[in-house]
């Protein structure tokens, strides 16, 4: 009797599941688990500047514009836009029939609400507002048209609308639920919708089948916050996470991943560039000839191959290959110790002259790099001493106040991938990161590209800035670091992104 009941139940269950399979439409399936090194604490777009906010939230939210792994700007929630002659007004035409995950409609009011909030009192508490201050107001023209009025043209604004603080948020939901609730229960229009969040542990998302760009191929997307690289890689090896995203995997762990048949390393150029910048005001580096000699005297290619395991590319100016303003025809100065010594002699630098290199003491990889640099300098007759600082001390007390030695480490890279972001901060007179140099011609070039909206013309100016700074040898450009992903081979269609803005719509799992 009991047995019969069991059989009935089994048959019933079979019938039920069979029924479900028969009636359900072909839909997304599979769960992908991502290991991310940091919990940003809040999913509100205006609260953060952590790249690991973006590696989750790029799936939850959309911006008016969108920029994928190819770094090309395409329409997002706006289908098109017109920029006025003077660059001070941008009219956006919005996508029709888009809804937020909670069913709220996306329209011009949502856009206005988003930017009023970002530029208003709520945004003032966070770090995002400063990126969008070119916007003076947003006017609703009709349900699907908005005007952005700008105080001054901002040539990078369209890019900035593709990420972070410019993500469009639902007005009714936030007004009703409040900011605190929204922080930990985010709602957007993106391809995945929020399911649950456990602070410091992880966040779970599921597919939003009604996304305007098409439904994701995965049914579920989970992120676990794992800070320790060895632990994240162990989880990857154990098959409990599918992707480990940057910045987690140190170069030294790449062989471990590559040795595992189930795993692969995906590595793409990141926005991060590293240079040893020069003190152009004091010491032997005040002389341009000496600066050139120092660059010529260091084999940067060899450093990339031997210390960085090839996980970086050489650079000719302080920007990577993806940067808007990078001139691919520009080649780095060659390694030429003889010419370097000749230049030093010409500049009257006696053999055995000393110089100091200031670095971040806790950056293990760079410590090795700088040792190599010092040995190369030894070869051309210079005595380099290395001065390590705690990162915050170097960044806040030493560099901005002009207390560095002859050379100092600087790592830089903004997600906008626009050279303006780097060049203006590094070279314009009076900027925080430019304690030593003042060059009226360079200032004029930097200012001129900010005022124009013609992107082709801007790119020309940015390229000429890159050439100008290389001619003056304002820094020793070292390399452009790669973003390193560890991926389980069961993950299909995965494409590494340079800037952590990871969108997993097209990814599937076996």
């Amino acid at each position: 009797m009991v047995k019969k009941k069991g059989l009935q139940a089994a048959l019933l269950a079979l019938a039920l599941t069979g029924g479900v399979f028969a009636t359900a439409p072909a839909q997304a399936e599979g769960t992908l688990i991502v290991s991310s090194p940091q919990d940003p604490g809040s999913w509100d777009p205006i609260d953060t500047f952590l790249v690991n906010w973006a590696s989750v939230s790029t799936n939850i939210y959309d911006g008016l514009t969108y920029r994928g792994p190819d770094a090309k700007l395409v329409p997002g929630l706006a289908t098109s836009w017109d920029v006025s002659e003077d660059g001070k007004k941008i009219r956006f035409h919005l996508r029709e029939n888009v809804t937020f995950h909670n069913g709220e409609p996306f329209n011009a009011d949502a856009v206005k609400f988003t930017f009023d909030r970002l530029l208003g009192e709520e945004g003032a508490k966070g770090p995002q507002r400063s990126n969008y201050i070119a916007i003076s107001s947003v006017d609703v023209i009709d349900d699907l048209t908005v005007d952005f009025n700008l105080t001054a043209p901002d040539p990078v604004l369209l890019t900035k609308l593709a990420g972070y603080g410019a993500m469009i948020v639902p007005p009714k939901y936030i007004t009703e639920q409040g900011d605190d609730y929204f922080n930990v229960n985010p709602v957007g229009t993106g391809p995945f919708k929020f399911v649950s969040y456990e602070p410091k542990i992880g966040i779970k998302l599921e597919a939003f089948a009604d996304h305007w760009g098409g439904a994701p191929k995965l049914s579920n997307l989970e992120y676990r916050f794992i800070t320790e690289p060895a632990t994240a890689v162990a989880e990857l090896q154990a098959g409990r996470v599918d992707i480990v995203i940057p910045p987690t995997i140190p170069i030294g762990m790449i062989p471990t991943i590559e040795a595992d048949d189930k795993l692969a390393v995906v590595s793409v150029a990141s926005p991060t560039v590293v240079a040893l910048r020069f003190n152009t005001a004091n010491g032997i580096t005040a002389d341009e000839k000496v600066r050139k000699a120092l660059i010529l005297g260091v084999d940067r290619e060899m450093i990339i191959q031997s210390i960085l395991g090839g996980q970086a590319s050489p650079i000719a100016s302080f920007q990577g290959e993806l940067s808007f303003g990078n001139d691919p025809d520009m080649v780095p100065l060659p390694y030429d110790p003889e010419q370097a010594m000749a230049l030093l002699a010409e500049a009257g630098v006696a053999p055995g002259a000393s110089l100091q290199i200031d670095i971040r003491g806790n950056d293990a990889t760079f410590n090795e790099v700088v040792q190599a640099v010092a040995s190369y300098l030894q070869v051309i007759g210079l005595n380099a001493t290395i001065q390590p600082y705690e990162t915050n001390v170097l960044l806040n007390d030493i560099i901005p106040t002009g207390k560095t030695g002859e050379m100092f480490q600087q790592s830089w890279g903004g997600w906008t991938l626009d050279y303006d972001n780097t060049a203006y901060s590094m070279y314009h007179s009076g900027e925080k990161w430019n304690p030593y140099d003042s060059d009226a011609e360079l200032d004029a070039l930097l200012e001129s590209q900010r005022a124009i909206t013609d992107q082709a013309k801007r790119e020309e100016i940015l390229k000429s800035i890159a050439h100008y700074t290389a001619d003056r040898a304002l820094e020793m450009p070292l390399y452009n670091l790669n973003a390193i992903f560890g991926v389980n081979k069961r993950v299909k269609n995965f494409e590494g992104v340079p800037d952590s803005r990871l969108r997993l719509t097209n990814v599937s799992v076996d």
Binding site: P127, A234, R240
Partner: protein, 307 residues
């Protein structure tokens, strides 16, 4: 007893004040949270930083900030995390049980292993089991716990695939973190049990007990163990404090969602409120455990009660 409790409570208040004052002061020397929050943002101006500092309450004087922390403490309001604005009580509330469970599991592992081994070593003093146990304990002491943790992960999670490499997710996930902590503790505890037991076994009442013809197990576990329990309990109590300190490394390696991980992240992000809260809770715990140890004496040793 009441006088004793009042004295201990006053001591506790003093400890908390001293510890939090030092922590609050020290973390403010390490850098500006406003700069940490805006790192990577190219266009941050001084005005932006001023705005953010104001929003975080960092524009007030140090003592005003510290006073705010103290008044909050009375109502268990630790403020909000600088990172994302989550109420700190929520974060600490979620992390505390994870840490306590792990500490408890480690202590249980350690006591369960070290007492029988320590007694065995004492009984067979100088013979091969004693030598063996002492060598093992020395080996255990010499292990750096992060190394042990990584080796266990390699063996049990990656090669054998028996246990999850990290996270707190069911009973299986406790095994490796508790063993890592437990082995190190066991190594010291075995030696302590052995020494303490050796002393006790010399006593006359043990001779009497044996003379009465009691079984060896009753002699060892009832008569001897109970009498050498006082130094052991004091030591286990003190150890609990050290355990909570050492847990930071183990929690990080096993990505354990406890106070250690929380403190570690908070230091990295200059998240003052979270760090202050974690340190306060840890100090409270240690004070409370020491108090419990003192009270426990009374139950074990009637002499303490009458004193």
């Amino acid at each position: 007893m009441v006088g004793f409790l009042i004295k201990r409570f006053a001591q506790a208040v003093f400890v908390i004040l001293a510890v939090t004052l030092i922590v609050a002061f020290a973390i403010r020397l390490t850098g500006d949270p406003a700069l940490m929050l805006t790192q990577g943002s190219g266009s941050v101006t001084e005005a932006d930083l001023v705005r953010i500092r104001e929003a975080l309450g960092l524009n007030q004087s140090f003592f005003a900030q510290y006073w705010g922390f103290l008044t909050g403490l009375v109502t268990l309001d630790f403020g909000r995390s600088f990172l994302g604005g989550t109420p700190v009580v929520k974060l600490v509330g979620a992390a505390l049980p994870a840490t306590l469970l792990l500490a408890l599991a480690s202590l249980v592992v350690s006591i369960a292993v070290s007492i029988p081994l320590g007694i065995q070593a004492a009984v067979s003093r100088g013979k091969w089991p004693d030598q063996m146990i002492r060598i093992l304990s020395l080996v255990g002491l010499s292990f750096p716990n992060f190394w042990l943790a990584i080796m266990m992960v390699l063996l049990f999670s990656i090669t054998l695939q028996w246990l999850p490499p990290s996270g707190m997710d069911g009973a299986m996930s406790f095994i490796m973190p508790a063993l890592t902590m437990g082995i190190i503790l066991t190594a010291t505890n075995v030696r302590l049990v052995r020494t303490s037991m050796l002393e006790t076994l010399q006593s006359q009442y043990i001779m009497v007990a044996r003379a009465k013809g009691l079984s060896e197990n009753v002699v060892l576990y009832k008569h001897a163990l109970r009498n050498c329990a006082i130094p052991l309990i004091t030591y286990f109590g003190l150890q609990f404090g050290a355990l909570l300190g050492g847990i930071v490394v183990v929690e990080r390696v096993f990505n354990w969602p406890g106070l250690g991980t929380l403190a570690f992240d908070a230091v990295g992000a200059r998240d003052y409120p979270v760090l202050q809260a974690v340190i306060t809770v840890l100090s409270l715990l240690i004070v409370a455990v020491n108090l419990l140890v003192d009270i426990a004496y009374g139950f074990i040793d009637p002499r303490v009660r009458t004193e």
